[in-house]
């Protein structure tokens, strides 16, 4: 059906239906990226509302329960609907290109994971029209149980996250299989770009981390709907069981959020320093070490829950040890700059700023790895500062580096460097204005998740300062949007490898044809395009043989609609679930019988 000759460049089909039925990893990547960025703006708007309320003592902009919904939905939106899908956008678009493949291992599964993501995201976000969850993203029992949260908010949380988890699990399996099996000839594991490595690592993390979350969510669902009491102390359950289950998922989740950014930065720094990544094996293995250690640190989120001295000592030591591989990464990134000839594009600004801001988050993280210190830091604004330096200073900085770096590859067009500078500097200043004073507020004793605070506590000045900073961030994002929409209207001028980068995605046209590569590369070194350039090796010959690409399919979106309705039924009427089940069943049936050539 979609057999294209090797020399045919651009896909010819366009229109909404072509996007709905697409199984092309690049289009799915764009869908993920655009959805993720839209949710990033939405989550940012929620944050602006909160900062407005907290600007002055005894603020009156937002009342208590609405504020709880805002901080709950801000976290859920940023984590599950913004940073994860933006990362997924890059995996989808870049991984097959970077390993020299023509698509992912399971293209229809890839489409199914996107549409399921959109279904779960809709359930979670549309809760604002009914009752948004207000128990925090960590949703501690027993506050999340029926007696204390009677409305439907927590049910939206449970069903939304179950649906999103399903989507992430499918994507993670797909990418693990793709990376293991579809690498171009000659691309050994230790020749893979670091971004591919990090994607592989987080795929494994997701496959292992989502099951505990699913178990916990289903236990909570049973507590709330069917009268079990896994987490209700008065009935023999244990509220701390939820915390253990949640953080066994939650801490690896943090690395799921940050490792893609580390991968992106490990691509951007060498390209613009014009030299290979310093200590590639060290960067790869420290990434793996971080992932392994992420399984033995979860209880540092629970130092104040009354755990005994010995478990706290063990988790403290484990947590501090994560500082070692993280430190190794930072040193290697810095050494990549050393001796380079650095071209400061906007992407490079973001990548270098990432080193600085992520390091601040890393340092404060090691600080509250010490349980005595954490007894003062826990649940104060110091932790808010820490996590935003990791997730904004780390993940978001890395993602912006990736956007500026890969925009020409994805669109054939360049983002304006001049507007990019404005965007970068305002974002950088704004984020530091917003989040650095939160360290001071935490030390001055300001608790997290409070919708109001009294005057006379000396928290007013830095809160106002942080609020101003958050508006500076908002302005910088408006500039980015202007830059984006201006750029996509320009004529495409980007050649295949405008940055003179070393990795395979730059070895095909910008944007790439539907089949990615006219001819498959043979990889001879870790930086294949630089190796070929330096050794006078021509790009592979186009043979003109037919390239088989998977046909578009509407079954993925059909199954995703079925899965979403299954969830919606749990929130409304079981008849809706039954309908969803029928649709999903029909979809799976059709999927299985669909011809694939």
């Amino acid at each position: 059906m979609a057999t294209v000759a090797g020399t045919l460049a651009q896909p010819t089909h366009t229109g909404v239906w072509s996007w709905i039925t697409t199984v092309d990893h690049k289009r799915i990547g764009v869908l993920y990226g655009v959805s993720g960025f839209s949710f990033f703006l939405w989550g940012g708007l929620l944050a602006l509302l909160m900062r407005t309320q907290l600007a002055v003592p005894n603020g009156t902009v937002i009342e208590s329960d609405r504020f709880s919904q805002l901080f709950t939905m801000h976290a859920l939106t940023m984590i599950f609907l913004a940073i994860m899908p933006m990362g997924a956008g890059f995996f989808n678009y870049m991984i097959p290109l970077m390993i020299g493949a023509r698509d992912v291992a399971f293209p229809r599964l890839n489409a199914l994971s996107y549409w399921t993501f959109l279904g779960g995201a809709s359930i979670l976000s549309l809760s604002f029209f009914f009752e948004a969850p207000g128990g925090g993203w960590f949703n501690y029992a027993p506050l999340s149980e029926r007696p204390y949260s009677d409305g439907s908010g927590i049910d939206f949380y449970v069903v939304g996250l179950l649906t999103l988890g399903l989507s992430s699990l499918m994507a993670a399996l797909n990418f693990a299989v793709t990376i293991i099996n579809l690498r171009a000839p000659g691309m050994t594991m230790m020749r893979m770009p670091v971004f591919v490595w990090m994607t592989f690592v987080i795929s494994v993390l997701l496959i292992l981390a989502l099951p505990p979350l699913t178990v916990g969510l289903i236990q909570l669902l049973f507590d709330r709907q069917f009268g079990t009491h896994f987490f209700i102390a008065t009935e023999g359950g244990d509220p701390l069981l939820w915390q253990h289950i949640f953080w066994v998922f939650g801490h690896p989740e943090v690395y799921i959020l940050i490792l893609p950014a580390m991968g992106i930065v490990s691509e951007v720094l060498p390209t613009f320093s014009r030299k290979p990544l310093f200590g590639y094996p060290a960067v790869v293995f420290s990434g793996i070490a971080i992932a392994v250690l992420s399984w033995v640190v979860w209880s540092h989120h629970m130092f104040t829950t009354g755990m005994g001295s010995v478990p706290r000592a063990v988790f403290a030591v484990n947590t501090m040890i994560i500082g070692v591989p993280t430190g190794i990464k930072v040193f290697n990134w810095l050494a990549t700059l050393y001796g380079g000839s650095i071209r400061f594009t906007t992407a490079m600004y973001f990548a270098v700023a990432f080193i600085a801001t992520f390091t601040i988050g890393g340092i404060s993280g090691v600080m509250h790895a010490s349980p005595p210190v954490d007894s003062q830091h826990q649940d104060t604004y110091f932790v808010v500062a820490h996590l935003h330096y990791v997730l904004f200073g780390g993940a978001i900085m890395g993602i912006f580096a990736g956007i500026y770096y890969w925009f020409p590859k994805m669109t054939g067009r360049f983002l304006s460097e001049a507007l990019g500078r404005w965007h970068f500097w305002l974002l950088f200043i704004g984020m530091n204005m917003t989040f650095f004073p939160m360290h001071f507020l935490g030390i001055a004793g300001m608790p997290r998740r409070i919708y109001t605070y009294d005057d006379g506590l000396d928290w007013g000045f830095w809160n106002m300062f942080a609020t101003i900073g958050s508006y500076v961030i908002a302005v910088s994002l408006l500039i980015f949007l202007v830059n984006f929409f201006r750029s996509v209207r320009q004529e495409p001028t980007a050649e295949a490898n405008p940055w003179n980068a070393p990795t395979l995605e730059w070895g095909t046209s910008s944007p790439p044809p539907e089949h990615d590569f006219d001819a498959i590369y043979t990889v001879r070194a870790r930086d294949p395009l630089w190796y070929d350039r330096d050794h006078g090796i021509a790009p592979p010959e186009v043979t003109g043989e037919h390239i088989h690409m998977p046909p578009p399919s509407y079954y993925p979106i059909l199954i995703a609609i079925g899965i979403t309705l299954l969830g919606v039924g749990a929130l409304s009427h079981l008849a809706v679930s039954a309908l969803g089940g029928v649709i999903a069943y029909y979809g799976v049936w059709g999927w299985a019988l669909e011809p694939t050539d």
């Binding site: 329960d65 403290a316 009294d454």
Partner: protein, 402 residues
């Protein structure tokens, strides 16, 4: 609301880790020299509310090199101090060391802050310097280096050493904080409710709410419980926090170092629902004699000087369903014990001053003041059953319960 001046006036307490007054254990002496060497930088922390007191070494005249360092940092220090004036002496500052627990916290904290500061400066400097030094220039060729094993070993060892240096005082403090309290420790039960704190003194037969009274210098053994959701008990100047988890008996023990007339401020720090932000409490630290007197008064049933007609009005109102006044047949347990409510400085878990006007606001419609408050509105104008006159009488009665 709280005047910072009296706090500062109590000054020359030097409660950190024996940097200046030599009270620290021998193991930590090296810190004094570190503090002297980089003393001015300590000023930088003052803007942050981190004010534990390494102040003295900073003021002693140093060697010329250090004086030069100081001159270089004067403008910076001035800026930081200007900022500090806006943020120092915060009534809930974790860096004000007023309790034995917090004193123990700051032992590893100082080591960690210095290490964090050094790493911060080093990485920021390296990032900036390398970025500026190796910008592209005509004629510059990037050196194609792939790595260097020696460097990898060195910068694996650096974080290992840093982490080891952090671990030793951390583990030392951790186990000290968990030590069993002495047998003569004052026992206090802290019980979390949505959204107020109940304090019980089982040995003294006292039940009170939202205002904890403890004697200076004596270890208090806290049993932390909750009747509903998870709360957390935190008085930043005295101690770190420990959660109050339903179904569990959490413990913590510490002493307050100094009696003073102003209360220490505490707050729930585990998100616990609608009025989490309003779940505040106060800790009064007395001298031993003052505490004895307070305990005697509180252990007694309600004062006998109350007006009998006012008491009858109170007992006829819905109040007794949730509140206890010992010596009467009001024995409800859902809300705070009111036996000596007139002696408290605040009502509504630290939200309002305990004055007739504020009591009127509270009784009339408490959830208008404190969202989610479990106490139903009492005034007829807000849907309750009491007339303004009845409320006046009840206010008079409550105020008399000293």
């Amino acid at each position: 609301m709280y005047d910072a001046a009296p706090f500062a006036a109590a000054a020359p307490r030097r409660l950190t880790v024996g940097v200046a007054d030599g009270t620290g254990t021998g193991g930590w002496d090296w810190r004094a020299s570190v503090a002297a060497r980089v003393g001015t930088v300590a000023g930088a922390w003052e803007g942050t509310g981190v004010r534990a007191r390494v102040a003295a070494p900073r003021r002693t005249p140093g060697r010329p090199r250090i004086r030069a360092l100081r001159r270089g940092l004067v403008p910076l220090a001035l800026v930081v101090l200007a900022v500090a004036l806006l943020g120092c002496d915060a009534p809930m500052s974790t860096s004000e060391i007023e309790g034995s627990w917090n004193k123990e916290v700051w032992k590893p904290y100082w080591v960690i802050i210095w290490l964090a500061g050094i790493v911060f400066v080093a990485i920021m400097a390296a990032t900036i310097v390398l970025s500026l030094m190796y910008r592209e220039r005509p004629g510059r060729e990037a050196r194609q280096i792939h790595g260097n094993t020696k460097f990898e070993v060195v910068w694996t060892i650096i974080p290992v050493v840093i982490v080891l240096v952090m671990m030793v005082p951390t583990l030392d403090s951790l186990f000290k904080l968990d030590e069993e309290p002495p047998a003569d420790a004052l026992k206090v039960e802290v019980i979390g409710h949505q959204w107020w704190f109940e304090f019980r003194y089982p040995e003294l037969d006292i039940v009170t709410a939202n205002e904890l009274h403890i004697p200076e210098g004596r270890v208090v053994d806290y049993a932390l419980r909750s009747v509903d959701v998870i709360h957390s008990f935190w008085v930043p100047q005295l101690a770190g926090k420990v959660d109050m988890v339903p179904g569990r008996d959490n413990r913590m023990a510490f002493s307050a170092l100094n009696a003073r007339p102003e209360p220490y401020l505490g707050q729930c720090v585990e998100f616990c629902g609608t009025s989490h932000a309003n779940m505040r409490f106060r800790v009064f630290v007395h001298t031993a004699e003052d505490f004895e007197r307070w305990a005697r008064e509180q252990a007694a049933p309600r004062v006998s000087s109350v007006s009998r007609t006012a008491e009858e009005a109170f007992l006829a109102a819905p109040c007794l369903g949730c509140h206890t006044v010992r010596g009467t047949n009001a024995a409800g347990i859902a809300g705070p014990n009111l036996t000596h409510v007139g002696s408290r400085t605040t009502i509504g878990s630290g939200m309002l001053e305990n004055t007739p006007a504020e009591l009127r606001r509270w009784i009339a419609n408490s959830s208008a003041v404190k969202p989610g408050s479990k106490m139903p509105p009492m005034a007829q104008s807000a849907g309750g059953t009491l007339t303004d006159e009845q409320i006046d009488v009840i206010i008079g009665y409550l105020q008399s319960l000293k």
